[in-house]
């Protein structure tokens, strides 16, 4: 009964989405206030019914309703209840339901937070988001229904959730990632609305920015969680594999990062407008392309297309309509929104232009590397890997250049910055970065790798100018630290996070030690500076697995601690998984993965010594924090208060039909950009 309710709720949500995707848009075209206002209630209704449907699937999982095929394939009575919940997004159909729910959630959020916008804009934005939801809901109902039954033969027990996904990281990683992917639909909808109204001004950029920042922050956290999960769960000790699934999430992140910066120029200087719109379209398109390709299993196994060509064709048709349609609209309408403003020399505009060019070039590299094997397999049926050598060769030099520009960012000025000014402000910082970049790795590791030196220097070259800038703005006093506006603080935090990540990547890539060793009980083995002693290996019974659990003593000097790596056998799926034991510290991770028994009580153990690997994820979290912090800036808050007073004016039809623009904000916080 409950699955039927879920199914029915989905159809109702589809009906509301169709209404949301048509009525407000027609209303905005005909200047009909009643139709435009319907957007708010329709958005609420769409969310409520998608939520009901999601709750129904949740109940099916928690109550072990194996008459639902999706539950039977991805759950088991023995599964702990929190994994039963996260199993909802453990495979294609359910994660698509989550995806649709997140989409409806963003739509509702826009409806709730956009009452102060001119209604021609907000109704169009909501209408476009409704149209996107129509596509998602149709896809789910036609090709990937999570409520399909196994009747008449209901299995006794479920096939269990893939053990790799039975993990905390996988509980939180997909929702974050989807919130990021789908969140870019807001920036996309604003861009399309701007193309439709033919008006793209500073106010438009200011409305888009908070949404874009939040979506970007979610995506950043999502990617970091994925990387962290791969690191501790797969037992390889790697944190990034340039695997197609990772790349699919990384591509919209690259354009999203470019979009955030380009929006700053559009808001502050009225330049890059048409480029900004294109980036907004590209970011959401890449989100769709990536997520769809991954979700449909096309990349991991192209043959799923052959098995279910309907799904593949639907995806392709949807992409053509959304991406093709918006690019066509762009080609026709972009001249109406282009604007000009003067800038020259090493101005902030030029630096942000460089930022955009480098990020888009990096995107092109990742895009080609990801899709080439796919295209190759489609064309010839053969398989090949474009491995990390290709990606590193393309990506690393671009990031080096990006980092070099980034160090100049805080001292750049709009319109015109002189080289003399930059040199004046930054020469000591440059010297300090180079010297410390050489000295710090030497102190830290005792050996020099030029790549690690380069990374540290570049990281400091980003870090130090931002600190100097902060200190100057604070008037060289601790009490002054509250002076810079929040948007500026946001930029600072995010850029410092980037510097941390650069240093972390450089150090961990070149100073990590990895060794496979044979450990017999009681016999100490030395790897690097530490001595490892296997104490014993015991059997441990988990809820749905049996584990061999090793106790290994790690000793350095006269300090020692225990680590407990496991090898787990999940009996329902008959899969053996390595559960690495990690001692996480800011300066280094000690990471042990249990291998195979070698006879005589000895085991093979893989020992990783990974210095500063945490800095990568710490950096990513800081970047996300910076993105969120920036939107708490007073100019967004003040805007909201002031706009609230205008609500009465908006209520009348004449008002609603008026121009969408609002007066350009004063240079309230000049530094808040980038």
């Amino acid at each position: 009964m409950i699955p039927e309710i879920g199914q029915f709720a989905l159809w109702l949500a589809l009906g509301l989405a169709v209404a949301l995707g048509t009525l407000p848009l027609i209303g905005a075209w005909r200047r009909d206030l009643f139709w435009m206002q319907s957007a708010f209630s329709l958005a609420t209704g769409m969310f409520v019914f998608t939520l009901i449907s999601f709750i129904c699937l949740l109940i099916a999982f928690v109550t072990d309703d194996f008459s639902v095929a999706y539950v039977a394939n991805n759950s088991n009575t023995l599964l702990p209840v929190y994994y039963k919940v996260s199993a909802i997004w453990g495979a294609h159909e359910g994660s698509f339901l989550l995806w649709t729910l997140v989409m409806a959630g963003w739509t509702l959020a826009v409806a709730l937070r956009s009452k102060h916008l001119p209604i021609v804009i907000s109704s169009r934005v909501l209408g476009i988001m409704g149209l996107i939801s129509v596509g998602f809901l149709l896809f789910m109902l036609m090709t990937s229904n999570p409520f399909d039954r196994t009747l008449p033969i209901v299995p006794q027990d479920g096939a269990d959730l893939n053990p790799q996904l039975q993990d905390f990281g996988l509980i939180v990683h997909p929702p974050m990632l989807y919130a990021g992917y789908v969140g870019f639909s807001v920036a996309f909808a604003f861009a399309i609305a701007a193309l439709l109204t033919g008006k793209l001004d500073a106010a438009w950029a200011r409305w888009s920015r908070p949404w874009t920042n939040v979506a970007w922050a979610f995506l950043t956290v999502g990617i970091a969680l994925g990387s962290w999960w791969a690191y501790y769960e797969l037992g390889w000790g790697g944190w990034w594999f340039w695997d197609p699934v990772e790349n699919a999430s990384f591509m919209p992140w690259l354009t999203g990062t470019a979009l955030i910066h380009s929006l700053a120029v559009s808001e502050k200087r009225g330049a890059f407008k048409s480029w900004t719109v294109l980036l907004a379209i590209a970011t959401f398109s890449l989100s769709l392309l990536g997520a769809f390709i991954v979700r449909s299993g096309v990349l991991t196994s192209v043959h799923s297309f052959a098995v279910d060509p309907e799904r593949g064709l639907f995806i392709l048709a949807f992409l053509i309509i959304v991406v093709g349609g918006s690019l066509l609209l762009y080609a026709v309408r972009a001249p109406a929104i282009s604007g000009h403003s003067g800038y020259s020399g090493p101005s902030r505009e030029v630096m942000l232009l460089l930022n955009n060019l480098l990020l888009v070039a990096a995107l092109a590299g990742v895009f080609i590397g990801t899709l080439y094997p796919l295209a190759y397999e489609w064309l010839t049926g053969g398989r090949l890997s474009v491995g990390p050598p290709f990606f590193n060769a393309v990506f690393v030099p671009l990031m080096v250049m990006l980092t070099m520009v980034l160090g100049l960012a805080p001292f750049s000025r709009w319109k015109q910055t002189s080289f003399a000014h930059l040199w004046q402000e930054l020469r000591w910082v440059l010297l300090a970065s180079v010297v410390l970049g050489l000295v710090l790795p030497l102190i830290f590791a005792g050996v020099l790798h030029w790549q690690a030196v380069l990374a540290t220097t570049l990281g400091l070259w980003v870090l130090l100018p931002h600190l100097k800038d902060l200190w100057q703005r604070a008037g060289y006093r601790w009490q002054g630290l509250s002076r810079p506006p929040r948007a500026h603080w946001g930029m600072l935090i995010a850029h410092v996070g980037f510097a941390f990540a650069v240093i972390g990547v450089g150090i961990t890539s070149h100073y990590s030690v990895e060794q496979d060793v044979r450990m017999a009980p009681g016999q100490p083995v030395q790897v690097g500076e530490r001595i490892y002693t296997l104490q014993n290996v015991r059997e441990r019974q988990g809820p749905n697995f049996i584990a061999d659990r090793a106790t290994i003593e790690v000793q350095k000097g006269n300090r020692s601690y225990m680590l407990y790596p496991e090898k787990r056998h999940y009996f329902v799926r008959d899969i053996v998984m390595t559960q690495a034991a990690i001692r996480p510290r800011l300066d280094r991770d000690i990471y042990l993965a249990l291998g195979d028994p070698l006879g005589g009580g000895a085991w093979s153990v893989r020992v990783h010594d990974k210095p500063m690997v945490r800095w990568i994820w710490l950096g990513a979290l800081l970047m996300a924090l910076g993105g969120v912090w920036a939107i708490r800036d007073k100019r967004y808050q003040r805007r909201r208060l002031r706009d609230q007073g205008r609500l009465d004016g908006v209520q009348t039809p004449a008002r609603a039909g008026g121009q969408a623009g609002m007066p350009v904000a004063g240079r309230g916080s000049e530094a808040g950009s980038s």
Partner: protein
């Protein structure tokens, strides 16, 4: 003219769509023509993976038919085809020479120690220099080199049972027939 420029993103997207759509309609695998077919194996001098002091040149070819397999530890597909190469080596006795491509020597040796080696030996090509000479797109790729040291066939992608039976066996059969004449 500047108006036309705005259609560029749309054009690029349509090309991509065409490529994706081609994936549905193409059943018959189209082959990438290789310029290397029927040419002598390029000359080289590189060290052996198993024993870095031993230098290997193109003189290793000739007198017998061999397979040359380009692989790397960073390549998951190589791992997937590894078992098939081992089966081929065991069942046919055909010598397989590996080219360890753009890889780390220690990791590669550990990899072979862990999974077993179907290779007679490996040529170590850390910079991909030999790979460039051979026109390697990516790993894995497998070549058939005849008794005269000429490349007779090239396969890009993994060698699985189907590929082996449909693609390699006819080539090897033809070589055998020629030798018998």
């Amino acid at each position: 003219m500047s108006r036309l420029k705005l259609f560029l993103p749309l054009g690029l997207f349509l090309i991509l769509v065409g490529l994706l759509y081609a994936g549905f309609s193409l059943d018959d695998p189209a082959r990438l023509p290789s310029t290397m077919i029927d040419r002598d194996f390029p000359s080289f001098e590189m060290s052996q993976l198993e024993d870095p002091d031993t230098m290997v040149t193109e003189a290793i070819f000739g007198g017998r038919t061999v397979l040359v397999n380009v692989w790397a530890t960073w390549c998951p597909t190589c791992k997937a085809e590894h078992a098939e190469l081992q089966r081929i080596q065991e069942e046919t006795g055909l010598p397989i020479i590996g080219i360890n491509y753009k890889d780390d020597a220690d990791e590669a040796r550990a990899w072979l120690a862990r999974y077993g080696s179907p290779y007679e030996f490996n040529i170590y090509d850390p910079q991909g220099r030999l790979g460039i000479e051979l026109g390697v797109y990516g790993a894995p790729e497998t070549f058939v080199v005849d008794a005269q040291g000429r490349i007779q066939f090239k396969w890009v992608g993994d060698v699985n049972r189907r590929v082996w039976n449909n693609e390699f066996l006819p080539v090897l059969q033809a070589l055998e027939d020629q030798a018998a004449l």
